[in-house]
């Protein structure tokens, strides 16, 4: 069963079309990554799932309910821009959010979560006293405190240090194990690659990627050559069959065009310079994202 189903969704603001003809099926009990460049319509889509916005056309079905009330207690939401009352104490703000989700007896759950995130000593402090990372963790607790069945996280990891990212990641994975469906948007492709069972990407309001990570990789095939050469300057220009070169400094990535032959490339490179490493690989999610979203990349844009 799907936790969320969108059918032929369209949403515009004035003359600007934010989301167009969008179909989406978010399977239950999985971690689903929602990617796309800034302004592509991710937040608008999430807000429609939350019923903060209503689509101009199409159907939004959340946990089987098509016309739910404005807010559903079974959904937890962490918005992209964090919002907590600065003057409230941590435990009060968490109790407030729990009660808004209809959870009346939440003191123990609050203490457990604060303990888990190393914030117990801060429970009686005001929100304004927290660092950015701490505030983000408190906001996350506010989103999950009422044990949601569907958890929507808009950029949950932005601004967190690696240690806190790890803590949050573990919490999300545990929620998934306990049956919570997770849908999160992110700009961090590494995170999406490591965590998500399924990836959706929208670009300019339309869906351009949809599937498991493996199916997306399969779609693009092994068209990337990762090389390290002695003299990168000039040696990588005009290689046969290569349509794009991306220099990362330490190594370079070459993309094979249709009909390109990696053996020919290796041969030509060895003729020009000393090849230290040569690996034929699939493109990373990051590459796929950039291919779709970079300026002038319309040729890569395939609506799915």
């Amino acid at each position: 069963m799907n936790a969320v189903e969108l059918e032929k969704i369209r949403k515009s603001f004035g003359g600007y079309v934010a989301v167009e003809d969008l179909d989406l099926a978010v399977p239950e009990g999985a971690i689903n990554g929602f990617i796309g460049p800034n302004g592509s319509g991710k937040t608008t889509t999430l807000r429609m799932i939350l019923r903060i916005f209503f689509p101009d056309q199409g159907v939004v079905r959340v946990m089987g309910v098509e016309r739910g009330k404005a807010a559903d207690d079974r959904i937890g939401y962490l918005p992209e821009e964090r919002g907590l009352y600065k003057k409230m104490r941590i435990r009060d703000v968490l109790r407030f959010h729990a009660e808004l989700k209809g959870c009346r007896d939440c003191v123990k759950a609050i203490d457990d979560w604060l303990e888990r995130f190393g914030l117990s000593a801060w429970r009686d402090k005001r929100v304004e006293a927290l660092s950015k990372g701490m505030a983000q963790k408190v906001q996350f607790i506010a989103a999950v405190i009422a044990r949601p069945r569907l958890l929507i996280l808009d950029e949950p990891f932005s601004g967190l240090d690696p240690v806190n990212m790890e803590v949050l990641k573990d919490a999300i994975v545990e929620l998934k194990k306990n049956g919570t469906t997770i849908l999160f948007s992110t700009h961090d492709m590494d995170v999406a690659e490591r965590m998500c069972d399924r990836i959706f990407m929208i670009f300019r309001g339309r869906k351009v990627l949809d599937g498991t990570l493996q199916s997306i990789y399969d779609q693009y095939g092994k068209d990337t050559i990762r090389v390290r050469v002695a003299a990168a300057n000039g040696a990588l220009e005009n290689l046969p069959g290569i349509i794009h070169v991306n220099d990362y400094g330490g190594y370079q990535e070459l993309r094979l065009g249709a009909g390109g032959d990696s053996q020919m490339v290796l041969h030509e490179l060895a003729r020009r310079t000393r090849v230290e490493s040569f690996e034929l690989t699939r493109p990373s999610l990051h590459d796929i994202f950039v291919r779709i979203a970079q300026p002038g990349a319309a040729s890569e844009e395939r609506h799915v």
């Binding site: 807000r47 939350l50 903060i52 009330k69 404005a70 807010a71 207690d73 959904i75 937890g76 939401y77 918005p79 821009e81 964090r82 919002g83 907590l84 009352y85 600065k86 003057k87 409230m88 407030f96 959010h97 009660e99 808004l100 989700k101 209809g102 009346r104 906001q139 506010a142």
Partner: protein
């Protein structure tokens, strides 16, 4: 319903359990009574340096008696009888040259005023002590001219005018060969006592009219209206900043993930009403205790509470929803304030006409203005506190009108809130807000 209660409780706590609220509870009476205290203090610490007046006496008869009166005043009237502090200036007179006087002299004396050597100079015409003709039309040309830099009547000029009138009257009585005691008896003013009407106590006994100071009775309606005004100011302003904070800090979006805009607004409105009633309860109880202490408790119309409370609640709803709507439409507090300017004018309007409404509570102006819903709660209470003669249909109709207006305001604010809460950037204008309301 529980969610509305959760929002209301948070709003209430955010407004009441703050230092600002407690401070304003303490400071508001301090400022109100502080003004009176400052006036009393200023009166006690007024300029009491000697004031010199040059008298140009055209009659040739008045300077001597005036000087005698000044001397008497300086002997007996300069000090407060209770604590012997000097509260007034001694008056010193200086005799000027006899007439005729020219402008050079006036100029020279004026320069002395500007150099602070003298306080004033006065010209007394020769005719000042003559008995005016009783036949033919009474002409009243100025016979005395006082030149001074002081604006209005100061204590010194007032003394001079009073003394001069007294001396002129006795001179005229003498010329008319009348008995001064008879004249005093004839002209003695009647002693008029100003009383509140009789009333009936709760046990049905007729209560005697209070002989309390009428000025106290005059100010009680004003106090009742002020109470409502202050409570409205106290709840609406924090509501505005709170909703703008929710927008700026993006709290609104988190809230909308859990509750509907309607629930947010109802919660906020209930919070506002609760804070308003808390404020009124504290102030009314405090005011009653103070009045009881000074023996004025029977003057406070407690029976009006049954009108005051619903009017207070409706006013909180009406103005609260307007402030919520404007707050939701704006991202910056200054945008909200400029948008609220006309609302503030409506809010303070009753304060501008309170005097008329208290002196003529049944007059056309007060009656009709008290039927205009935003002004109704305050003006109707003012009128009802000023006189028990307000026909019962008027507050009833007023209540219905305010109720309808408040319901429209709540409905409209709900629509603005739904659109405005997630909107960032430029504040809309009034006509755009109207369009939002229409669009739904």
């Amino acid at each position: 319903m529980f969610k509305i209660f959760v929002i209301a409780r948070r709003e209430y706590q955010a407004m009441v359990a703050t230092k600002a609220f407690i401070l304003s509870l303490v400071l508001m009476p301090f400022f109100m009574f502080g003004a009176i205290a400052i006036q009393t203090y200023m009166a006690r610490h007024a300029d009491t340096s000697p004031k010199t007046m040059v008298i140009l006496d055209g009659t040739g008869k008045l300077y001597g008696p005036l000087e005698k009166l000044a001397h008497e005043r300086n002997e007996h009237q300069l000090f407060d009888k209770k604590d012997a502090a000097q509260v007034r200036s001694p008056i010193l007179l200086e005799k000027g040259p006899p007439p005729p006087w020219n402008d050079d002299l006036r100029m020279a004396l004026s320069d002395r005023i500007r150099r602070n050597e003298i306080y004033a100079f006065a010209e007394i015409d020769r005719a000042a002590v003559l008995l005016p003709s009783t036949s033919g039309p009474l002409s009243n040309p100025p016979l005395v001219r006082i030149y001074t830099q002081a604006v209005g009547y100061s204590d010194v000029t007032q003394w001079f005018i009073d003394s001069l009138n007294k001396l002129a009257s006795s001179s005229r009585i003498e010329q008319a060969k009348l008995d001064p005691r008879l004249v005093t008896a004839v002209m003695a003013p009647l002693n008029v006592q100003n009383l509140a009407p009789f009333s009936r106590s709760s046990s049905g006994k007729i209560q005697k009219a209070s002989s309390a100071d009428r000025s106290v009775i005059f100010f009680i309606p004003m106090g009742i209206m002020m109470l409502m005004f202050l409570s409205l100011m106290l709840v609406t302003q924090p509501m505005l900043t709170s909703i703008i904070e929710e927008k700026q800090q993006r709290i609104a979006e988190v809230l909308l993930g859990s509750v509907s805009p309607f629930q947010i607004m109802m919660g906020k409105l209930i919070g506002i009403v609760a804070v308003g009633l808390t404020f009124v309860a504290i102030y009314a109880a405090g005011g009653y205790l103070v009045a009881q202490h000074y023996g004025y408790a029977q003057l406070i119309p407690l029976n009006l509470l049954i009108w005051f409370i619903p009017f207070e609640m409706l006013a909180c709803l009406l103005f609260g929803s307007i402030f919520i709507a404007v707050g939701a439409a704006c991202t910056e507090i200054k945008d909200a304030q400029s948008l609220l300017m006309p609302v503030m004018l409506v809010l303070v309007m009753p304060m501008m006409i309170w005097n008329v409404a208290v002196t003529e509570p049944l007059g056309h102006l007060a009656t009709w203005l008290s039927m205009i819903p935003p002004a109704t709660p305050m003006l109707m209470m003012l009128r009802m506190a000023a006189t028990p003669m307000v026909p019962m249909w008027q507050p009833m109709l007023g209540m219905v009108l305010v109720l309808i207006t408040a319901m429209i305001a709540v409905f409209a604010a709900g629509r603005v809130l739904r659109i405005g809460l997630l909107m960032q950037g430029k504040a809309p204008r009034w006509h755009e807000l109207v369009r939002w309301i229409g669009r739904g």
